[in-house]
Amino acid sequence: MTAVADTWALCVRDLLRLWRQPWFIAVTLVQPVIWLLLFGALFERVVDIPGFHGGDYKQYLVPGVLVMTAFFSSGWSGMSTIDDLDRGVTDRFLVLPIMRWPLIAGRVGMNLVQLAIQSVIIIGLALITGVTFPGGPLGVVALIVAAALLGTGFAALSNALALVARKEESLIGAVTFLQLPLTFLSTAFMQASLMPDWIRSVSDYNPVDWAIRAGREAVGAGPDWATVLGYCGLLVAFALACLVLATRAFRAYQAQV
């Protein structure tokens, strides 16, 4: 119970810090818009490829952009943790009589609030540009939940890396190393049936694609909820594993101070 209150207090702290960085907020909000419009325009003709079903490419793209947004922003979550390490804030928190997991969960919570706002913007913009969600509001919610689970996992992973590497450069290296491959080894931009076989096989093990598959299924016409729940189950397992890893990473950090 107190751990939940601690999570909340730490989450509010992070939201306050976020609020005081207007530029960062602006970028966070504008980026998904740019992706949606840019990729929508760039790959507009993809729908003309024989075998690509569905009319408008943007219709296809929306779940991918939403999940990508969750994936990309949560990957940087550990940067705040490195700031905290450098500034002695983490050391201060670690000698408090609190559990370790709220230190991670509070930060992940901030990422999720951020994602909720980004989601509203993406969905709103999609609706304005004529994208429809045949799966209905429930489908949209499922898409956002899938993206949030993925974001939780990668935010926690980013924090784990931050605690172990303790250097901005290392974290930036690791995150950028993962971001593009994981994005392109997924169905974000390209339908599975049109991908080379090996990419399709790899994407089966890519959490980013789990979220996209779940989300796209959920917002489409006549969603197969078993598929959606199946992928969400995998994402829950992924998120929990990452949260445990990040909580354990404090031990690795404390062994070095």
Binding site: R87, G88, R92, V95, L96, V257
Partner: protein, 325 residues
């Protein structure tokens, strides 16, 4: 209140703690004095449960720091060498967050926070983001943060390093007051001899991860052979005469001459002065001035660590000093 027993901790090749032992009675200000790299911060990290020792054991308020970390954490307030202030939050927000994480709520917390802001002269700046605070203000906020939950034991790791002299003096007043008025047990580390001398009721001199001497500052100084007596000769170089002249003066030891200055130790310096002057006068050696000094902690350090404090400081690169802020 604090017991450290044969603590050992290494970082790779470096033995940061090499059998460190000391004991701090309840209600005392205890100083851990040592040059940079002596292992003071490592000791604080072990005692405050941030780091684990490789060997030895320690208790704070009766709780074992390794086995009972939770209870130790509830009892202590920690001000690390590196400020732990969140520079993106205001002073008040920093205090309130710390209070919440310490399990405080509502009116109790907000009135405690306001009282501390007032007490540490931060009331006017409380609504400002701490990025703009001066070094002294940040340090005072650090201490307020460490005190919000009314701990019984306060750890202050180099609380005044990097502060201006006036700010440092004000901080000393504040720290003494905490011990006097609130009955806190304070463990203070410092590499300023003067600070240890001014604040600590007892202290341990740490060198290379172990305690080389401990006791009250005055005891430590008294354990040296009394005061130092320095005589400045008027216009003449000292020569063999001086030794001859002083050999008859009782209670004087370690007579040495250096140019026009002669130096000796005496159990009671002030009492020795008339005899010294008379003896020099009898040998027609003119005297310009006489100075009697109580032994300083510098002398104590020289005696027990086998090198002067300044030399020990110089031996270490200054990395630690800079990391202090």
């Amino acid at each position: 209140m604090i017991q450290a027993n044969d603590l050992k901790k290494g970082y790779g090749e470096v033995r940061a703690l090499d059998g460190l032992s000391f004991e701090v009675p309840e209600g005392a200000i205890f100083g851990l004095l040592g040059p940079n790299g002596a292992g003071k911060s490592t000791a604080v990290k072990v005692l405050t449960t941030l780091a684990r020792a490789d060997g030895g054991e320690a208790r704070v308020a009766g709780f074992d720091v390794a086995r009972d970390a939770r209870r130790v954490r509830r009892t202590i307030g920690v001000v690390a060498q590196k400020s732990g202030v969140d520079i993106d939050l205001t002073g008040r927000e920093n205090l309130m967050l710390q209070g919440r994480l310490q399990g405080m709520r509502g009116r109790e917390l907000s009135s405690r926070a306001e009282a501390l802001l007032e007490e540490f002269g931060l009331a006017d700046a409380a609504g400002r983001v701490t990025r703009g605070y001066s070094g002294g203000m940040q340090r005072r906020l650090d201490i307020a943060i460490g005190l919000v939950h009314r701990p019984k034991v306060l750890f202050l790791d180099e609380p005044t390093t990097g502060l201006d002299p006036e700010v440092r003096a004000a901080m000393w007043t504040e720290i003494s007051r905490l011990q006097r008025d609130e009955g806190l047990t304070i463990l203070l580390t410092t590499h300023y001899l003067e600070e240890a001398d001014r604040l600590a009721s007892s202290l341990a001199i740490v060198d290379r991860g172990r305690v080389v001497a401990s006791g009250a500052p005055d005891e430590l100084k008294a354990a040296l052979d009394g005061d130092s007596v320095q005589v400045e000769l008027d216009g003449v170089e000292a020569n063999g005469n001086v030794h001859a002249a002083l050999s008859g003066v009782g209670g004087l030891s370690a007579v040495s001459v250096d140019g026009r200055r002669l130096h000796a130790r005496a159990a009671d310096g002030a009492r020795a002065v008339p005899a010294v002057l008379a003896a020099l006068d009898a040998h027609a050696i003119p005297v310009a001035s006489v100075r009697v000094a109580r032994p300083s902690l510098d002398d104590v350090y020289l005696r027990y660590a086998g090198r002067s404090f300044a030399a020990a400081e110089a031996e270490k690169p200054t990395e630690n000093k800079e990391a202090g802020r």
